[in-house]
Amino acid sequence: MAAVQTSGERALNKIAIVAVLIITIIFLAPIYWIVSTSFKPRNLATTIPPTVVFTPEISPFVKLMTKRSQLREQPTPEEYAAAPWWERMVFDGGEKVVRDGRGDVQWSAYPSRFLNSLIVAVTSTVLAVGMGTFTAYGFSRFKVKGEGDLLFFILSTRMLPPVVVAIPMFLMYRMVGLTDTHVGLIILYTAFNLSFSVWLMKGFIDEIPKEYEEAALVDGYTRMQAFFKIVLPEAATGIAATAVFCFITAWNEYAFALMMTNRRAQTAPPFIPSQVGSGLPDWTVIAAGTFLFLLPVAFFTFLLRNHLLRGMSFGAIRK
């Protein structure tokens, strides 16, 4: 930190570098283990010592996507030769792919749960960020009576434990037939993310000089035109960052999904743990499902890296 580094400083710095390296490796190890397990044959997933070097295969992903049953008898050589490559992988694992009466391959529930996650997360993000941007602009630019109390009220709705909200929501949804529907889950996630989006967007809009709009108003724009043509483009980065945060929150959400859905609208987070069950789970398949599920979030985290601090502090710390 001092301008001139003493030899003691330099030695200390070397120690710090080594320590940071070790911490990074420890923190990434579980994630590496998920990824590597998702490419292992089943018998190598649970070995002692752990298998680190192996020939990667994609059989866990084939098994993840298909419905399978135990092989009662080995397939005949003709059957084996006639089967497509991915079906052979399932045969090799001592299982066979389930086909319906017409011989069509039966998909597992995973793709539909993944799709449910996508539908619910994307729709609720669009709604929460859309409404949140308008509301943030209202709070940022106009005098609002009891603004502090209203903003506290908005934030507090997000801080409630999901279980507390879920009990009455479950009873109400049951009355109107919204349990286990996409709409039901989308409403819950929108409400949950809306408060976050208002707080974060307000910070972003506060930073846009209000002189921009005032100049536009003098030029003959209406307030609405100024909002859509001046403020929204200026706030684009903020809107994108807020949207990614809302998407990740909705994508990862577990408690509401567990309590409000069970089949039709179930998302991936409650579905993946339900596959473990009792007995010996096939960890390669669980790892494959987990890996695919984590991919979008890992991608977005890298996109978002410069805004993480701001999002995590509800817009309080800007940097």
Binding site: A2, F134, L150, V163, L194, V198, A287, L308
Partner: protein, 301 residues
């Protein structure tokens, strides 16, 4: 919250005479959100407040009978509920202390001349962005006494992590620390990098020792941001559900959110669970209040 940029709202201004008035736009932008939150958050809570005074069970068609404060009295006199709160408190302490030690320590290390600092920081932040339930589940394999990587790496033989009632809460907390220490690190790093360099230079000229520098310069200046991290993590740990529910079925890890879930959705004691939900709700709102005060304090600096 007084930091909001305010424009003058003159209804007779030239701009306001065209198109919608500012007042109308303000109401159009704000009221739908407030209404949405009232309908989907406040109304349900009012609904469950009503049920908290009844013996309603959602699994039967029996009408709800008004029982007054009976549910609240029973809950506050129930030693099992107090035990759930004690488990939760223990969990909060272990996991928040762990996160602050690991997170703040890593931030101190990173606040130096480290090559690839940006990349390392981003990689370290990855765990907290992932789904607690899905990734937490995978820790079951890591903790497995027979073929878990953790026992193998630490040479612990067949050590029981999740199977041992005394160890299970620590195991869940360790996973939580892994996920959320990066959050404390991120906020601490922001605080540390905001400490003016000249203070350290002045301390060096005065030949101040490293302890003096840390306790008299670094810590006081980072404290407000660190407090935000601590309060936020305390609140989240208090509400914890996903990790403990996915990882463990031990009674020793039954935090209050899990008790509440079981009471409401497995035992179907709806009225009683509404009352417990209200007890938890009041506690969370109290912590939220403190949290918002700190957020505004940091914002105003």
């Amino acid at each position: 919250m007084a930091t909001a940029v305010m424009t003058t709202l003159d209804p007779k201004s030239r701009a306001a005479s065209r198109g919608m008035s500012d007042l109308a736009i303000r109401n159009l932008f704000i009221i739908p959100t407030i209404l949405f939150l009232i309908v989907f958050n406040i109304f349900p809570l009012a609904y469950s407040l009503g049920y908290s005074f009844t013996d309603f069970r959602a699994s039967t068609n029996a009408p709800a009978n008004f029982v007054g404060l009976q549910n609240y009295r029973d809950l506050l006199n129930d030693p099992y509920i107090w035990n759930n709160f004690a488990v939760t408190a223990k969990y909060v302490i272990i996991s928040v202390v762990g996160q602050v030690v690991v997170g703040f320590g890593t931030a101190m290390l990173l606040n130096r001349d480290i090559p690839f600092k940006g990349l390392i920081t981003t990689l370290l932040l990855l765990p907290m962005m992932l789904s607690m339930a899905v990734v937490g589940l995978f820790w079951k394999l890591l903790y497995d006494p027979s073929w878990g990587v953790i026992n193998w790496a630490l040479g612990l033989g067949k050590f029981e992590w999740l199977g041992d009632p005394r160890m299970a809460l620590y195991a869940v907390a360790i996973t939580d620390i892994w996920m959320w220490a990066p959050f404390v690190m991120l906020l601490s790093l922001a605080g540390l990098s905001a400490v003016p360099k000249h203070l350290y230079e002045a301390a060096a000229i005065d030949r101040a020792g490293p302890f003096y520098t840390f306790f008299r310069i670094t810590l006081p200046l980072v404290a407000p941001i660190l407090m935000i991290a601590i309060i936020f993590r305390t609140m989240e740990a208090f509400k914890t559900f996903d990790l403990a529910y996915v990882l463990s079925t031990q009674p020793s890890t039954e935090v209050i959110a899990i008790r509440l879930y079981k009471m409401a959705f497995q035992e179907w004691q709806t009225g009683r669970s509404c009352a417990l939900a209200y007890i938890v709700l009041i506690m969370v709102l109290a912590i939220t209040n403190i949290y918002v005060k700190y957020l505004n304090k940091v914002k105003e600096r």
